[in-house]
């Protein structure tokens, strides 16, 4: 007997425990990637159960099935086009009304479904008791109460899902009726669209036309423009009756149904105990204690990641480099040996970033997000971040960017829209990371004085703010204003956090390692082929004429793409001195200009890999090219201004 295949989709609001259920179901047979051509995360996994091979897709956490965000559009299309055999709708029992609003929309898509009524323990503690049988009857959808975090109800959920697939006829959604004036017009419109070819059910199309859904309108317009005209007329009628835009009326009525159902099945009793979460919320969002808690916890995170990280990183570095002599013994010190070792070096560079920095950062970010603290930080910082055109949530990745740009860019995954993610990653690549700090302090700080180094940092901050704002204005699309849920604090599910970290790391390694290795190999190849000198010569109009730097700095700038913290050392080797106080042709002005250019000129190769992963290679390339040009222009201007000042 061949195994039967099933497709199950998990859908629901953000932060309702969807990923936890996903992890229970799929275990280690999962894969986190991107939706084709999009930078929205897609988690899929497989499981074998009762002779079925079941593919499970964890749809993005969303509040609606309109086209407000890419995530909503992707989810809707997936359900309509791929037609999952059954949808598991994960519902947060403690915020029933808003969750049911989403459930009602899923029902409009007329796909078989099962509801996982999750976090009933939290609901109970809040004093909410839910009559499950009644809810089941009112919706016509089977419901399994679950406490995903403890694995309760997951097995029954899966069994029920299979049962729904096997006995399709048994479950029948109770059709949701809107108010009379609206319902009547939906039916009229549904009758008209009955015969057109679409992936979506007629009633759904009718509702969406009245809601003014652009995607559906476009689709219908091609097939039968008359329907659009008719829909327009019906919309106006509804608007006249209710005095609100038609889409508002429909959403309001859908919410009213959700609210009515929620009130009918909920029984409110006094909460069991004064809730710790409530107090924690007040403290962490308070105008004084909130900022104190935020500053101390973020400093602690920053400090522990980057001190422990650099310790581990150094250790790994020494350990891995200790095989170098062995390597050369084996492959010889000839061209092949050198080239092969360069690839090893790339690998080492990758390992010393991924293990000590990215892995802990992923875990911590995941923890902050799942527990609910991230949204509190966003609440406190939104206003400040807005000044540089960013969303409040971008504060944490931005801060981490001062340690290392790579995990910071990867951390931009927490941003809700593509536009916000792009803005945040762009701004982060401008922030001086620890490696650039080595250059700033090691050159300018050491030889020109701390005040000059400080000035560079302040100047950098100004550039970040100005360029951030400019990018914010220049980018197409609507700025996403802050509309964010602050769900109750809860303890994250450790296994889910760890698994997600592992699968995301794996995704980064797939892009990051080849990029770093190829980069390292290419530069070694140039060196072996004796091409470095001709290239620096070719660069001399920029480095010498425009920037006023010695020609050999071109070499450091090229190698700096791999590892910026090595630039001062390399410069010392090339200038044949470790003391830069009195180098002919590399005076204070040159030192300042060189540092300034190094600060901005290009994201390092690992950051570029992170950018490719988060925003796609085209935008990554654009940012890279932009920053090279920007640094060159800036450096040249600085050179001229400083020369002018010093002449006077």
């Amino acid at each position: 007997m061949t195994k039967k295949k099933l497709l199950i989709a998990l859908a629901g609001n953000a932060n309702v425990g969807k990923s936890v259920i996903f992890n229970y179901l799929t275990g280690l047979h999962q894969h986190i990637g991107n939706w084709p051509g999009k930078t929205v995360e897609k988690a899929e996994g497989t499981l074998h159960f009762k002779g079925y091979t079941i593919d499970i897709i964890d749809l993005p956490g969303i509040y609606s099935l309109s086209t407000y965000s890419l995530e909503e559009l992707i989810s809707r299309r997936f359900i309509a086009v791929n037609k999952p055999d059954v949808i598991i709708n994960v519902v947060d029992a403690s915020v029933l009304e808003r969750n049911l609003y989403f459930t009602l929309q899923l029902m409009e898509l007329e796909t078989p479904m099962v509801i996982a009524l999750n976090q009933i323990d939290i609901a109970n503690r809040k004093g909410i008791q839910i009559n499950v049988e009644k809810l089941e009857k009112l919706l016509g959808v089977p419901i399994i109460p679950t406490i995903a975090i403890r694995g309760i109800g997951i097995f029954q959920l899966l069994e029920k899902a299979i049962e729904v697939v096997e006995k399709k006829h048994v479950v029948k959604h109770v059709p949701m009726r809107f108010g009379e004036e609206v319902e009547e017009r939906i039916l009229k419109l549904a009758e008209m669209v009955k015969n057109i070819q679409s992936q979506y059910p007629p009633r759904y199309i009718a509702i969406k036309l009245l809601e003014g859904d652009e995607e559906i309108e476009r689709e219908v317009l091609q097939l039968n423009p008359e329907i659009i005209t008719a829909a327009g007329r019906l919309k106006e009628e509804i608007e006249k009756i209710h005095g609100h835009p038609c889409s508002t009326v429909i959403v309001a009525e859908r919410y009213e149904i959700a609210g009515r159902i929620a009130r009918e099945v909920q029984m409110l009793v006094p909460p069991i105990k004064p809730r710790l979460g409530e107090r924690l919320h007040s403290l962490t969002t308070h105008k004084v204690t909130g900022y104190i808690i935020m500053a101390s916890s973020l400093l602690l995170i920053f400090y522990s990641i980057f001190t422990v990280g650099s310790y581990v990183s150094d250790f790994l570095n020494i350990f891995l480099y200790s095989i170098e002599p062995l390597f050369y013994n084996f492959f010889g010190v000839g061209v092949t040996g050198k080239l092969l070792w360069s690839m090893m070096e790339g690998m080492i560079a990758g390992i010393t970033i991924v293990l000590p920095y990215i892995a802990p950062l992923y875990i911590i970010l995941c923890f902050l997000e799942d527990s609910g603290y991230l949204s509190r930080v966003a609440f406190l910082m939104d206003n400040v971040m807005h000044k540089m055109g960013l969303h409040g949530k971008a504060f944490i990745p931005l801060l981490l960017g001062y340690g290392c740009n790579v995990p910071a860019c990867l951390g931009c995954r927490i941003m809700e829209t593509e536009r916000e993610r792009l803005l945040a990653t762009f701004v982060i690549t401008l922030v001086p990371c620890a490696s650039r700090t080595v250059i700033i302090l090691g050159l300018v700080g050491k030889y020109l004085g701390v005040q000059w180094a400080l000035m560079l940092y302040i100047f950098n901050l100004a550039v970040v703010i100005v360029l951030g704002r400019l990018a914010f204005k220049a980018l197409p699309g609507e700025p996403t204003a802050l509309i964010m849920e602050m769900h109750d604090y809860k303890w994250p599910h450790l296994k889910t956090v760890l698994k997600q970290t592992w699968f995301r790391l794996f995704e980064f390694i797939k892009i990051g390692f080849p990029t770093i290795i190829i980069g390292s190999f290419t530069i070694k190849l140039l060196e072996v082929l004796d091409l470095i000198k001709p290239i620096t010569l070719a660069l001399s109009p920029i480095t010498v004429t425009w920037l006023g730097l010695p020609m050999i700095t071109g070499i450091t700038l090229i190698f700096g793409v791999l590892r910026k913290e090595l630039m001062p050392v390399m410069l010392a080797a090339l200038l044949e001195t470790t003391d830069f106080t009195n180098v002919p042709g590399f005076g204070p002005i040159q030192m300042f200009v060189f540092t300034l250019v190094s600060m901005f000129y290009i994201p390092c190769i690992a950051t570029i890999a992170a950018l490719i992963r988060e925003i796609g290679w085209r935008k990554a390339l654009f940012i890279t090219v932009f920053e090279i040009l920007f640094a060159v222009v800036l450096g040249g201007l600085a050179f001229r201004i400083l020369t002018l000042i010093s002449i006077k």
């Binding site: 509040y63 609606s64 309109s66 086209t67 407000y68 965000s69 890419l70 559009l73 403690s94 915020v95 029933l96 009304e97 808003r98 609003y101 003014g212 859904d213 652009e214 995607e215 609100h244 835009p245 889409s247 508002t248 959403v251 309001a252 919410y255 609210g259 919320h281 969002t285 105008k287 900022y291 949204s375 966003a378 609440f379 406190l380 939104d382 206003n383 400040v384 807005h386 409040g392 829209t417 593509e418 536009r419 197409p476 699309g477 609507e478 204003a481 802050l482 509309i483 964010m484 849920e485 602050m486 769900h487 109750d488």
Partner: protein, 95 residues
């Protein structure tokens, strides 16, 4: 509605509510921006989807310092709303 009606019914933007005060949404005037590039429906649609429909009760809990976002309670869930948007939500103050 005439100006007098506004006065009489105490229709004010959400930002005018004091901490702890409750209002009932009368209208949302955030506009249906046509962000075609993102296939966007606009902020108003988003607000609706989060449950801020006309006739809904909203309680302002507090606002973040330095003119920051508002913390509100709506349909049993806690939302953070940017001040810019909160200004476009009109409520009738509940006495």
């Amino acid at each position: 509605m005439k100006v007098d009606d506004y006065m009489e019914k105490h229709v004010v933007p959400l930002t005018a509510l004091r901490d702890g005060e409750t209002g009932i949404i009368t209208s949302v005037k955030a506009g249906y921006g046509k962000g075609r590039r993102r296939g966007g429906f606009g902020v108003e649609k988003r607000l609706m989807d989060m449950g801020l429909t006309p006739g809904t009760k909203v309680t302002v809990i507090k606002s973040a310092p330095f003119h920051g976002p508002l913390e509100i309670l709506v349909r049993d869930s806690r939302l953070a709303l940017g001040r810019g948007i909160a200004e476009k939500i009109f409520v009738e103050v509940e006495k």
